[in-house]
Symmetry: C2
Subunit: 710 residues, 2 copies
Amino acid sequence: MAIDLTTRSDVVKYHFLSITRPSSAFLTRIAAIVLSGWLCIVSGQKPAIGDEGMWLFSNLPIELLKQRHSFEPTAEWTDQLMRSSVRFNSGGSGSFVSSNGLVLTNQHVGSDTLQKLSTAENDLVTRGYVAMTLEEELPAPDLELNQLISITCMTERVNNAIKMGMTAADAAAARRAVIADIETEFNQQTGNRCNVITMYGGGQYHLYEYKVFTDVRLVWAPEHAVAQFGGDADNFEYPRYCLDACLFRVYEGDKPAVIGNFLKWSVNGPAETELVFVSGNPGNTSRIFTSAAIRYERDFRIPDVLNFVRRREILLQQYSLNGPEQKRQASDELVGFQNARKAYSGMLAGLQNPEYLAELEKREQEMREQLAADPALAELSVAWDEIESVQHRRAELGKRSFTLNTRLYWFAQTLTRMAEEDRKPNNERLPEFRDSNRESLLQRLLSTAAVYHDLERVKLADMIGRTLEIRGGDDALCQQMLDGKIPSYRADTLVCQTRLMDRDFRKQLVDGGSNSIDASDDPLLVFARVLNGEQRLLRLADEELDEREIQAYSKISRALFALRGTSIYPDATFTLRLAFGVVSGYEEGGLAIPAWTTMDGAFEHEAKHNGNEPWQLPESWHESGQKIPGNTPLNFICTADIIGGNSGSPVVNKNLELVGIIFDGNLQSLTGDFYYSEHQARAIGVHSEAIRQALSTIYAAPSLADQLGK
Amino acid sequence: MAIDLTTRSDVVKYHFLSITRPSSAFLTRIAAIVLSGWLCIVSGQKPAIGDEGMWLFSNLPIELLKQRHSFEPTAEWTDQLMRSSVRFNSGGSGSFVSSNGLVLTNQHVGSDTLQKLSTAENDLVTRGYVAMTLEEELPAPDLELNQLISITCMTERVNNAIKMGMTAADAAAARRAVIADIETEFNQQTGNRCNVITMYGGGQYHLYEYKVFTDVRLVWAPEHAVAQFGGDADNFEYPRYCLDACLFRVYEGDKPAVIGNFLKWSVNGPAETELVFVSGNPGNTSRIFTSAAIRYERDFRIPDVLNFVRRREILLQQYSLNGPEQKRQASDELVGFQNARKAYSGMLAGLQNPEYLAELEKREQEMREQLAADPALAELSVAWDEIESVQHRRAELGKRSFTLNTRLYWFAQTLTRMAEEDRKPNNERLPEFRDSNRESLLQRLLSTAAVYHDLERVKLADMIGRTLEIRGGDDALCQQMLDGKIPSYRADTLVCQTRLMDRDFRKQLVDGGSNSIDASDDPLLVFARVLNGEQRLLRLADEELDEREIQAYSKISRALFALRGTSIYPDATFTLRLAFGVVSGYEEGGLAIPAWTTMDGAFEHEAKHNGNEPWQLPESWHESGQKIPGNTPLNFICTADIIGGNSGSPVVNKNLELVGIIFDGNLQSLTGDFYYSEHQARAIGVHSEAIRQALSTIYAAPSLADQLGK
């Protein structure tokens, strides 16, 4: 199956959980999770228990919070938290933490921008950065932040557009059109970005109104070595000792934006057993999945993803062997792929547990029996069969599906499609070409970030080779791709001859519109045109399957609402959600794992590994780290239900004071795509006080620290 | 498809070409090879041109050598070289270099033994080793060396056993039986190991008589850092600077064996343009392959192998992160997989060249037309269709085929099969259980080499997980494998509970015979028994396809003999072959690449990379390396036709003096499995003088150096 880890929506899914750790312990731990944890699972098919849930801000579990934690959020409380939360369109979360536009997130969320701002001479990923004045704040080349302003239900209007007896393709087109119309209408009305989001797998449609910030500047980032202390080996581990935080600032009219809703700063941070809230944008979960969909994940999609991830990981490692500059160019992407490999390995292990699937099937069976017993609901039961049939078709489609996504090819493909789509009325276009998304699209297409020639070359060669492996070397389209040459030669030629590396050239094509793009004989555009027909067919085939699933899952959602009540949360969709939980350690292998770690612990952890990479704290920490009291908490854990995309999410207490930010989950949380457990699964955060003190003392920026929460 | 890189016959294929290099240059170079080099290719379907050929010692290209190099080998010359050559059953080549049993090979061929002789405290791979006295020579735990004594043609006798109208399965059984009978008969007659080898893809059968040495002791090995200087990055590169050599000694009756046939030592080494000979055991080539077989390699087998290789490479990297001892345990295997990845990537790039396949098809077409024109040969043409049909079946079989090969599982599976096979008459057994192979089998089964518990655990878990991915998680056999648990838990349990780690326990089972093995309730034996039925079915299905191919390729061989004459060489079969060529540089990217490198060059290469790993020469070289004249040649290249398995092969001049040993091929040689080119493809050797001087000066063992060639 074609896996596209390079588009934004996909990156979200993989970018949160940061790096990797040793296989043997990893596998043993995964065994422990899956064998001990899954019995308390709750799929979308049961009401949430414990601290499970990624709740909609428009449908918070008020009763549950009252009963379980004696807390009742008010409308003001909810609105304040919602508007203080920030989405990073590059794939992560954050929050406003000052009235003058400071945004706090993880260093690993900011690292895409750090990489793009770096050069061979000045590597901000490795060295970190502090702007001592506003003038020193560095504009990000293509970063976009979103602030959620309002949520409105549009289910009826969307559903009314779908008529009985429509084919899946027609229904998908009708749905796309009505969604585009709604978005345009509300965009004109509010002046803000408006997106219709499919919730409950198609059970509901909500309009999300976002204020968009595109002038975002880097303020502070610590060194990679301490942000991701322990690297690949410690990733998904706990106890952890990472200062995985950084600061941006949003600007309007070339001045720091004036922000009305921001979080106050907690000096003490969270106490053990304290109730905390996580407000962020979990990327994607699959908790509503039927057993047939789970089988497809287990036997097809995840194994394919893992093959691709390992392939790219090795490619990037090999590229890095060329020298320090190549290593720098590849490092951010490499970390992402290492992280993805570890996350998917954990997921797959969870799905390969025969008891998990047996339990899921049992519950499905029970539910279908309940439905059959009620004449008003009986027809909903076909949904499970429909979803099974879609999975078979997906497996078939996987034999032809391919992607070539490198940055240069993405430019070529996007421009080629833009030429086609822009000739259509707005509401008939593919979503990314709609007016409502144009600003984001252009920001990415016209990004000033460097494109690395050699890296593009080896990636494109590998992707062409992989396409031959998927479709077979005799495939007519593959033959056209090769043009008589081998993949690497073809890629070399295309990358050397295209002008798409040049932003001005891209701008010229965009400004010239459809005719100008179509008339270009740039070799990579010509190449993209050759592939465009088949790629469009595959995309439409895929969307038709999505539509069939949407219709089926909307039936399952109706069944759930009918049988289990409406206080359920939908699967994550990279939109703002509220999770809650308590700060709490856990027991593992007879050991009590503490709820937090300290500054002293970081130095001890370094010493334990003899300071070998990746356990080498940066110079700044050796110079000034000990000035911070050793017992200052550094990282902490809580039971909140989080997933990839939640990286950088603020953790707040009842008083809406920021007590920390999420940066990872532990190994036991890796099955979270499919089910939640609070037995040992934990979200891991950076403590607010560690951030404030480090900023003030280690990074010598007390004036920045003073702005926090004010 | 199931890939078994851990059995001996397979390792041969992958073990020669040592480590890896950067993707970008790699791909560019591969492009250059495939685009410039392939036009002078010669598949099995044309007579050899240039210095192509891995010739049988029983059918040397006397005329070609006379014409091309004005040299005519005598029978004595041939016999002396044959008997001076040594096969390492672990997957490599070597030669006798003294009358008192010294055997010279590559460090990377010996590294399997070095690893097995190492402990956490004393890592011989890293540190190297020198035995200053016979007493210090270290017995290898399970190394077997073979010396070829004679070759006898058995084609008629084998073919007579196959009757018209037999099914493929019956024919395979009949062939196996007659081969076993011949082997037993000649073994009894000579007292030596006798193996019948299928040559020319089934066109001929030859009896190879080997003297076997099982008491083999380590004498000298340099440090890994200089043996594989430049590591993964420099692998398959040239110019190179590796002292990839080590010495063993064979013993008989606990004394150094007295060796009648050994090579003299050349002080001057090879001169530019000098004719040299390589006598070694190339593992496997596929030059007779039809276009249908090439398509199967390109679209199925090699992509599958690469997915597996990358998977294992990442697993071993992750395991190594656990600490220095884990890194040591995994290092030898990791190097092997890195090497395989690079080798297969090069092969695949070659096969993905559309012009190569077009040319092959054109030649096939011509040949089939020639056959059709001759009534006596016309029937041979069906062979191509038959081979195509076999490929489709192989692709089908690949959806069920799996292997679990870890060392512990290999013990369990082998014992389980031994119990079954030993109940059959010798000539009906699977080949590895025949009397003629029993000594090798027991040496491996009862090896004293350490088995690493944690490494076995993660490998078994991964192989079980992979089997689920191949066959689907619902597969009944997979469910039996899991026994209700996830792969890692199941593997943990099996590895923790089995007693097969214990050599005495294995010996007890072997000594107790079939009944004792069958009666054992060791969990891993029970597990192997569960899988045995299906694994046997898959193996038989595979062998039936092999048989169909043998019959088809034997027809193609007959066609070749009829149309092209009998002076052709068969594909490599890990049996002794003679290659020849001249010492010669080449041109690349406008640069003249020299025919050899020097000692000084090694230090310059280190300096160029700032002495960063893997470009850090060992301490011994920094202390004493400069005592050797700087212009002493270190590595050299020649045009001889070599492939994996040739590692350690002696390179000799016309006077049978050893001028060096093969240790690698350059990038341009990577397509050698399928075709030879002398445009830029080169075999890389260590120079004889570098070995002698290093031994004497850097490793302070002049008395060993004095034994060389005497």
